[in-house]
C-alpha cells in the first residue's frame, strides 16, 4: 500500500516522462504521428494477403454486427497485440536505457517502465480511434460499446505493465532477455487467435478429445494463454458488437491483477539494488 502511494506521488514525473516520449518520438519526421499507423497497416496488408487470401482463414462474420471484412477482423486482435508486445519489449529495456539517470538521480524507478506503457497507450488509442471509424464506415454499431472498450484497454494496459515490470528487472540481470523476448513474442502471437479464428483450434481440439486419456484438451491448454481472452473481449466488443462472456472478463481481471501484483512485488524488491546492478 505504501508503495502504491509512492508510485502515486510520482504521477507528475510519470506524466512528464510520457510526454517526453510522445513528443520526442516523431520529432523531425514529416508525417509525425501518422507513422504510428504505418506499422499496423503494413502488418494488416501482409496478414490479409497471406492468411485472408492465400490460406483463407475465413473467420465467422460478426454476430450480431454482420461484418465480414477480414482486415477489420484482423485489426481488432492485432492492434491490442501490437500494444501489448510493444509495451513488454520497450519496458524491458527501459531500465538499461536509462542507466545513467538511475545512477545519478534518486527517484521512484518504477516510472521508467510505466512511462513506456503511457506513451505506447497514447499511440494505441490513436490507432483504435481510426479502427473504430473504419468499422462504423463498414456498418458496425460500436458506439454503445466504447465505455466497455476503454475498460478492456485499461485491463490490457495493467496486464502489459505487470509483464513489462518483470522483464525490465530480468533485463538488468540478464542482458540476453531482450533478445529472448523477441523470440518469445514471435511464438506468442502465433499461439493467440489473432490471424486465425479460434474455431480452428476448438475444431482440432474436439477431434482429439482428451489428450493421452486425460480430460485435458488441446483447447484447455491453449486457453491458458491470457492473450486468448483479451483478444476475445476486443473482438466481441468491436467486431461482433456484443456483450462479452462474463467468464472472459473474470479471467482477464485475474490475469491483469496477478501480473501487476507480481510485477510490482519483484520490482520493489529489486529497486534499491538497481543503481549498482546496472
Amino acid at each position: 500500500m505504501k508503495y502504491l502511494n509512492e508510485v502515486w506521488s510520482s504521477r507528475e514525473l510519470l506524466f512528464n516522462l510520457v510526454s517526453r516520449e510522445v513528443r520526442g518520438k516523431y520529432k523531425r519526421t514529416i508525417f509525425g504521428q501518422l507513422w504510428s499507423l504505418v506499422n499496423p497497416l503494413a502488418l494488416m496488408l501482409i496478414y490479409t494477403f497471406v492468411f485472408g487470401l492465400i490460406f483463407r482463414s475465413n473467420p465467422p462474420p460478426g454476430d450480431p454486427s454482420g461484418l465480414d471484412v477480414f482486415p477489420l477482423w484482423l485489426l481488432c486482435g492485432l492492434l491490442p497485440w501490437i500494444f501489448f508486445s510493444t509495451v513488454v519489449s520497450t519496458s524491458a529495456g527501459s531500465l538499461v536505457a536509462n542507466a545513467g539517470l538511475i545512477q545519478k538521480v534518486a527517484f521512484s524507478r518504477i516510472v521508467l517502465p510505466l512511462s513506456t506503457v503511457g506513451s505506447t497507450a497514447y499511440n494505441w488509442a490513436f490507432e483504435m480511434a481510426v479502427l473504430l471509424i473504419a468499422i462504423v464506415v463498414a456498418g458496425g454499431f460500436v458506439w454503445p460499446w466504447i465505455p466497455l472498450l476503454i475498460v478492456a484497454m485499461a485491463l490490457l494496459a495493467v496486464f502489459a505493465a505487470g509483464i513489462g515490470l518483470l522483464f525490465s528487472i530480468f533485463t538488468v540481470y540478464f542482458r540476453d532477455t531482450q533478445y529472448l523476448l523477441g523470440i518469445l513474442l514471435q511464438f506468442w502471437i502465433y499461439l493467440t487467435p489473432i490471424i486465425y479464428p479460434i474455431s480452428l483450434v476448438s475444431n482440432e481440439s474436439a477431434k482429439h478429445g482428451g489428450l493421452l486419456g486425460t480430460p485435458v484438451t488441446l483447447l484447455g491448454i491453449y486457453d491458458l494463454n491470457p492473450m486468448v481472452h483479451f483478444v476475445a473481449i476486443f473482438r466481441e466488443l468491436i467486431y461482433d458488437n456484443r456483450w462479452p462472456d462474463p467468464a472472459e472478463w473474470l479471467i482477464c481481471v485475474i490475469w491483469a491483477a496477478a501480473a501487476a501484483g507480481f510485477g510490482m512485488l519483484v520490482f520493489r524488491k529489486n529497486e534499491p539494488k538497481l543503481a549498482e546492478a546496472l
Partner: protein, 246 residues
Amino acid sequence: MTDIAVRVDHVTKSFRMYHERNQSLKSAIMRRRRSVYEDFLALKDVSFDVPVGSTFGLIGSNGSGKSTLLKCLANIYRPNQGSITHFGKIAAMLEVGSGFHHELSGRENIFLNGSILGMSRKEITRKFDEIVAFSGVEQFIDQPVKNYSSGMYVRLGFAVAINVEPDILVVDEVLAVGDQEFQDKCYQKFRDLKAAGRTVILVSHSMETVQSMCDHAAWLSHGELKAVGSAEPTIKSYLDSLSHDG
C-alpha cells in the same frame, strides 16, 4: 536534535567485484552457480553528523570513498550496514542535465528535469524565470537542447538543480564547469543558500574551493573516516598527510 541536518551512523558499504559475472544466461547455465566475486569495502564504519546550516566538504584522494558516500547520502545506494538519517528535504546534484531529452526544447527540458529532481509543476512554473535567468540561455530557451553548446547545456542543468531549493543539497564536483562569470554566480548561490540556513554537502578536489566555502569538513581515506570537524584543521591534516606520503 534540531541542529543536525544529516546523521551518518556507522555506515558500511561494500561492492561485489565480479571476477566472472553471470550477466548472460549462457554463462549462468554453463557455470551452474552464482557468480564469482569478492567484496570490496568502499566505506568502513563511517559516522559523523552534519550540522544544520553548514557547508560541509568531503575531501580525500581518488578512490577514498567520497563519491560512494555521496551516493549513499543521495539515496542512490543503500548502505550494507548502518543508516543515514536526513532531517529535511534532500536533493542531490551528482551530474547536471541528467534526463535531458535532446530533441526537446530548453523550456520542455526544464519541466522534465525539474520533475525528475522532485519539483512539482507549480513550483517549476513559479521559478521558471529565475531558472532561465540564472542559466543565461534566455535567447535559446525554445531551441532543442542538442543545439546548445556544452557550456549552455551544463548551465541549464545546473540552474534547474540549484532551484530545487532543498533543505540539504548534495553536490558532486560539478562546479568545475562554465566560465568564470558562471562559477561566481554559483558560489554566490551557495552563499545565499547558506544565508537561508540551508545545508550544503559538497565533494571537491580543489582545496581552495573547500577552504573558501566550507566551514566543516570530513576527510576520508580508503573508506575510513580520518578526521571530521571544522574545515581548517581537517584540510590541514589532509594536506600534511599528502606531503608526508609524497
